[in-house]
Structures are given as C-alpha cells and as structure tokens.
C-alpha cells in the first residue's frame, strides 16, 4: 500500500522480544502519522499508575505520512511519551533519522521495558537488535554517534541521548545526527529514553516507500516551489535572521524577559553568524529551504568541530536572555547543549533563572560559580553540572518550575514555564496570543504547537480567513485563532512536515495534492482541519487524564506583566484570562479546560470520551527521589 508500510515495530527492551504490529488505512486517515498516530496508541494504552520512568511506560518514535517522501521538507519524525513532567510528552526533529527509520520498512517504533545494561537498538529491515552500549554511557552525543555508525554501518543514522538523558533530566532531548544535531528537544523525552537504559536508536534501511501517483506529487511540488521566495531570509541567514527585527519589535527576550530592548542584538544576529563562521548551508532530507547553518567551533573543546550552528532560539537563550553578546561563546554553548543532550531552549531559560536567583539572593549555594549576567563561562560550567546532576546543577536539572520549589516561592515570578516546560524565546508583548499558545500547548510552553504569533505578525492563514497582520496587542479573536492554528500545526506533525513550510505559505490545497499523490486520498482543507482538531483533543485528553486542567493552563507572572508593560499586572492577567476563556469556548471544552463528551464524540473519539468519563481523580504515582535517580546513572 502506498505511503506507509502499515507496520510498527514494538520492542520490549527487558526481554529483548519484538513484534510487528500491523494496522489499517483507517487509522492513518483518522490520525495521520507522526505524533497523531502515536497519540492514539498512547491514549489506548494509557495507565495513570505508570510513572514515565516505569519500564512499561511506552516511548514511541513515529514518522509522519510524508516523512521520507520526496516533497519539500518531508523530513520530520516525532517522539511521544508521557513526559517526566507528568504531561503529554512530544518532541520532533528534522534531519535524516526519521526518513531512514521509514526506509527500514517500519513506520515507527514502540519501545517498552528497560534494558539490563546501557544499550542501543540497531534497527534494520530485519528487525531490532539490542546491543551493549556500556562503553558509551556518560559520553556525549557527538562521540557516541560516531562510534555507533562505525559499529553498525557508516550510512546508519543515530538518535542518541547525552549525559543529561542518562541522569533523567527533564530538559533532556534526543539528538539525531550527532554534530548535525537535529534535536527532539522539548518536554524531556531523553530522560524517558535514559530510564530505559537506552543510549541510542540506530537505523538503516533501503526500502523506499511506494507512492500512489508520483506525477501528482511532482506537479504539486512544482506548483509550490515559487513560494520559496517567502523564506529566502531563512535560506541565507537561518532562523537567526530575525534577531534584529525581533529586537526592534520588542520580541527578543532580554535579561530573563525583564527588558524589552538590547543594543547588542546585531552582534549575535544571522548576518554576523554567517559572515564570520559559516562553513556550509545545511538542508534536512528533501528540504529546499536549507535553513541550517553549519559552523566551525572557533575555540575551546569544540575548536575545529564542524556542526549545526546555533539557531535563533539558542542565540537568544544564551545571548540576549543572559546579556551575552559574544558569538564565539554562543557557538560553544550550542555545541555543548547538543553534546550533553540538553534542550538548549530550556537550558537557556534555566541558566537565566539561575543567574537572576543568584543576584536576588535566593541561591545560597554558589558551588564555585560566578553566576552573573553575561558570564558565558559560568553558564557553560552550569550546563555541565545540570547534565550530570552535580552540585547546584541538580537544582536546575528538572527545569525552572522544580528549581523554584527548591529556591523559594518568590522565585516563581520569574521562573518562566508552562506545565513545567520552559517558554520559548519570544516576548509576547506585541503578539499576545503567544502567551495563550504557551499556556494551552499540550507539551508545555511551546511556540511551535500553535505558531499563532506568526499569524498575528503577518504570516497569512487564508484557509481560515487570516490574510493580514492582526493587532498584536489586542486579545480579541485570539482564542479562536490560536485554537485553529494549533489544529493546523497538529496536521503538520501528523504529516511529518517542517513547519517552516507555513512560512513559505504552503496552502492546504497543496498539502491535499501531496496526500492525493502519496495515497490516492481526496481530502479538503476542512478535512485537514478536522484531523488537526482530533489530534489536539486526543493529546488534551491524555493530559486531562493526568490531571491537567485550567489550573495549569497558565504562564508566569512576569509574562502576564509583559502583556501590558508599565501597567498593573491585573491588566495583563485580565487580557490573558479573557483570551483563554474565548479559547476554551472555541475548542468546545468546559470552563475547566476539559474536552466535553460531545466534542470528543463529534471527532470520532469514542475511546477518549469513555476514558474522560471514567476518570475521577487522577492517581499519580510518586516521582522517584532525586537520590534514586542519580543512582541509575552508571552502567
């Protein structure tokens, strides 16, 4: 059958047994692939008594419908699990690992159990083999990736955790490609992988998916290609191209979101990065945009290393956010996060939080670190300590929400997260829907789940009537728009497409043509939006079963202040809660943010409706004490 293999490989890491799960086209039409199909599996198997680190808690890698298919940006793969933060866990990456997984002849992997010793999984068309990775435990992802490709196949693709995943940090991601570093970063999937004693998943395949009608696919691609003019800035200067613009617009976060402007932005912006350090432009599988900017490490332990240069989020996280304008140090900190397996967005927010806590006198134990604004050297040492849970690193290893519980209630005001996941690096002052997007994102404070601020800022979404920039300071209509954009982006996740196609203004008509070419399906824009709505509600139901409700759909006080700068916080709070109220109504959820039975049934989610009905009070098993977790770091 075209497009997908309709086969998922399930591996029990405890017993070493594996089995192939086959499923039908109906599931794909209903959930698409990627995090959509993974959500349906995780909800089916939902068991509130399982802690995310329980061996039987599944970790799922899933390709999208268009992953590995020759359409622009058909490169992405999702990893889904219960996040160690006790919410829906999902992260996605481009690069080449996802397509290679599909080329093994399996659409995805379900991993349960816990390997007896540090191990890696070697996946080919023949199935999966668990192999020892004892020698790699404690090593960075760069070295691990090189060694595993050497042990298996030079053309194999590697997804590995670093020390932060081994020590079960809630900020641990999964790094694909080693120095290429396309990162499944958000919501801590690397920790779940570490809890399974799994250092890496190595894939190699040669089974290209079958396509129903290649001509339809190619014609639609030709029709789309002129749209690349919308993303020429990304092609030339990468995501860092927006730094100066964001600074001018008051969007660049400065000094842990406490300032609106910074006169050093130009020094860390895309043009400077490209002019001084570019080695080559990098494109993910089948990507004509090529926004990746590979650089050569200029100094320190990564001197001479060529790899993924810092993106916008990382440059602002370790740049403007902490008042560091030294581009060399930013390249170093980016390499360091990727090597340690840390989500650089969360790690940057944690570093800024640590500095502010220190300067305000809440951090009593200094551990020899001079945590001051702009001290990149101290931040580097802090990251090492976080990844290995050493010294004061242990305070911050599970993110700023948990750190603020240690450092005192007064630090909550500037602990910038939602549902325990650190915010992305944009100030919502001129695009207020971003705060709502963060608060209602299923995987915690994520900008990519909604991308609503892009619509406010002028990227059109014509299928839903948004054709020009909105008044970004007004909350009116933002609840509806945010919900629609979240549904739209859920479609991209299910399809395995990079969301930068949205910047290139890919139309739903083109997406439908690609699906027609791939699988012969006749779909419309409203069909896509219905699937997106279904996927968003599936994940929300998962969260609701874990006890997530309106109480957790919030943002930190500093963000509320920034919604109405210079005015009493009550004004920002009112704006936020008015938007959220409209959002719940637009979603068809009750006032506590729980999907109604009618809503779920209207989307064909009978199983989810039944689970919500049965839910009374969530039972959350206690999280292991940190001392227990640290014990599990060695082989």
């Amino acid at each position: 059958m075209p497009g997908f293999t309709y086969r998922i490989l399930e591996v029990d890491l405890s017993s070493g047994q594996s089995k192939v799960i086959e499923y039908g086209e109906e599931a794909l039409r209903k959930y698409f692939g990627g995090s959509g199909l993974a959500a349906s599996i995780l909800l089916d198997r939902f068991d509130s008594s399982l802690h995310p680190f329980h061996p039987q808690s599944p970790l799922i890698f899933m390709t999208g419908l268009l992953t590995g298919i020759p359409v622009p940006c058909g490169c992405r793969v999702s990893v889904c699990t219960q996040s160690p933060l006790r919410i829906w866990g999902e992260a996605n990456a481009g690069g080449y690992w996802g397509p290679e997984l599909k080329f093994t002849g399996f659409d995805g992997l379900i991993l349960t159990g816990k390997a007896r010793e540090p191990s890696y999984l070697w996946v080919t068309a023949k199935g999966a083999e668990i192999r020892s990775a004892k020698g790699l435990w404690g090593k960075g992802t760069f070295e691990s990736t090189e060694k595993l490709a050497g042990e298996t196949d030079p053309k194999a693709r590697v997804a590995a955790i670093g020390p932060s995943g081994e020590t079960l940090s809630c900020m641990a991601g999964i790094i694909t490609g080693g120095r290429e570093a396309r990162v499944m970063g958000r919501s801590g999937p690397g920790a779940v992988m570490g809890s399974k004693n799994l250092k890496a998943v190595v894939v190699r395949g040669d089974q290209k998916p079958c396509i129903a009608d290649p001509k339809i696919l190619q014609d639609a691609t030709k029709e789309f290609l002129p749209n690349l003019k919308f993303v020429e800035g990304l092609s030339k200067f990468g995501t860092a191209s927006v730094i100066e613009s964001k600074e001018a617009a008051g969007v660049l976060p400065v000094k842990n979101f406490s300032q609106a402007h910074w006169d050093k932005a130009k020094k860390i912006a895309g043009p400077a990065l490209v002019a001084e350090y570019l080695e080559r432009h990098y494109g993910c599988y089948s990507c004509p945009i090529r926004c990746g900017k590979d650089v050569k490490g200029p100094e320190g332990p990564y001197a001479g290393v060529v790899g993924h240069g810092p993106e916008y989020e990382t440059l602002s996280a370790f740049g403007s956010l902490v008042l560091n304008d030294d581009l060399k140090s930013l390249i170093h900190l980016n390499f360091l996060c990727n090597d340690l397996g840390l989500d650089s967005m969360s790690a940057g927010i944690a570093a800024a939080f640590a500095i502010e806590s220190n300067l305000r006198g809440y951090l009593k134990e200094k551990d020899g670190l001079d945590l001051e604004w702009g001290n990149a050297q101290a931040i580097g040492v802090l990251l090492e300590k976080i990844a290995r849970r050493q010294g004061i690193g242990a305070i911050f290893a599970d993110g700023v929400e948990k750190a603020s519980r240690v450092l005192g209630k007064k630090t909550e005001a500037f602990a910038l997260h939602s549902k325990g996941v650190e915010v992305s690096l944009s100030n919502p002052t001129p695009t207020v829907s971003l705060a709502l997007s963060w608060a209602t994102s299923n995987r915690g404070a994520c900008h990519l789940e909604g991308f609503s601020h892009q619509v406010e800022g002028g990227v059109p979404f014509p299928e839903m009537g948004y054709t020009k920039a909105m008044d970004g300071t007004s909350g009116e209509g933002k609840g509806r728009m945010t919900a629609l954009m979240q549904n739209n982006m859920a479609v991209f996740n299910g399809l395995g497409l990079c969301k930068f196609l949205f910047f290139a203004r890919v139309s739903h008509e083109i997406l439908c043509k690609w699906l027609k070419g791939l699988a012969g399906w006749d779909l419309s824009s409203s069909d896509l939006m219905e699937v997106g709505d279904r996927l968003y509600n599936l994940k929300r139901t998962y969260n609701a079963l874990l006890g997530v409700d309106a109480e957790r759909d919030v943002v930190a006080p500093r963000i509320l202040e920034n919604l109405r700068p210079g005015k009493p916080i009550s004004e920002g709070r009112k704006l936020f809660f008015d938007m959220r109220k409209e959002y719940y109504q637009a979603r068809g959820w009750d006032e506590n943010g729980i999907p109604t039975r009618e809503k779920l049934l209207s989307l064909g989610l009978e199983g989810a409706a039944e689970k919500i009905k049965r839910k009374s009070k969530p039972f959350l098993s206690p999280r292991p004490q940190s001392s227990q977790r640290i014990k599990r770091t060695g082989p």
Binding site: G233, A249, E311, L425, G457
Partner: protein
C-alpha cells in the same frame, strides 16, 4: 511633510544592513503607501512601528514620524 523609514528583516536589509530613508510625502499618507513607495511588496512587511510604537498598515502618518517596517518574523 517628511517621514523617516527604516526597513528590518527584509532580504535587502539583511544583506546590506538597515538604512533610514527620508521621504517627502503628502498629508494623510498611510503606512501601506509608504511600503509601496519603498519598493516593497505588501507581503514583505509584517510588523509596523511608528515612533517605536506598534501600528498597522492602515495607520496615517504624521510629519516627522519615524516608521519602521519589519518583515514577518519567520524564524523563531
């Protein structure tokens, strides 16, 4: 009247650096007409600042206004 226009984030300004242009325009001149006069297409501009405060493409400019035209923030 006179206005001062700065562009940010458009491909040209990324490559050559931002420049401030002095334009003589008639009374009642809107931001969208300034965009046209700068040789930009409507889609190339996302956010608009007038004297540092957020405005819209429909905003009417005043003498000595400093207008900043920012490309859609595609990237982060």
């Amino acid at each position: 009247m006179v206005i001062f226009v700065k562009t940010l984030g458009t491909l040209k300004s990324l490559e050559e650096g931002p420049k401030v242009m002095r334009l003589e325009v008639p009374e009642g001149f809107s931001v969208s007409r300034a965009i046209e006069k700068m040789g930009l297409q409507d889609w190339e501009v996302g956010l608009v600042l007038i004297n540092g405060t957020h405005g819209t493409k429909e905003s009417i400019l005043q003498d000595q206004d400093q207008l900043t035209l920012i490309a859609p923030l595609v990237g982060g």
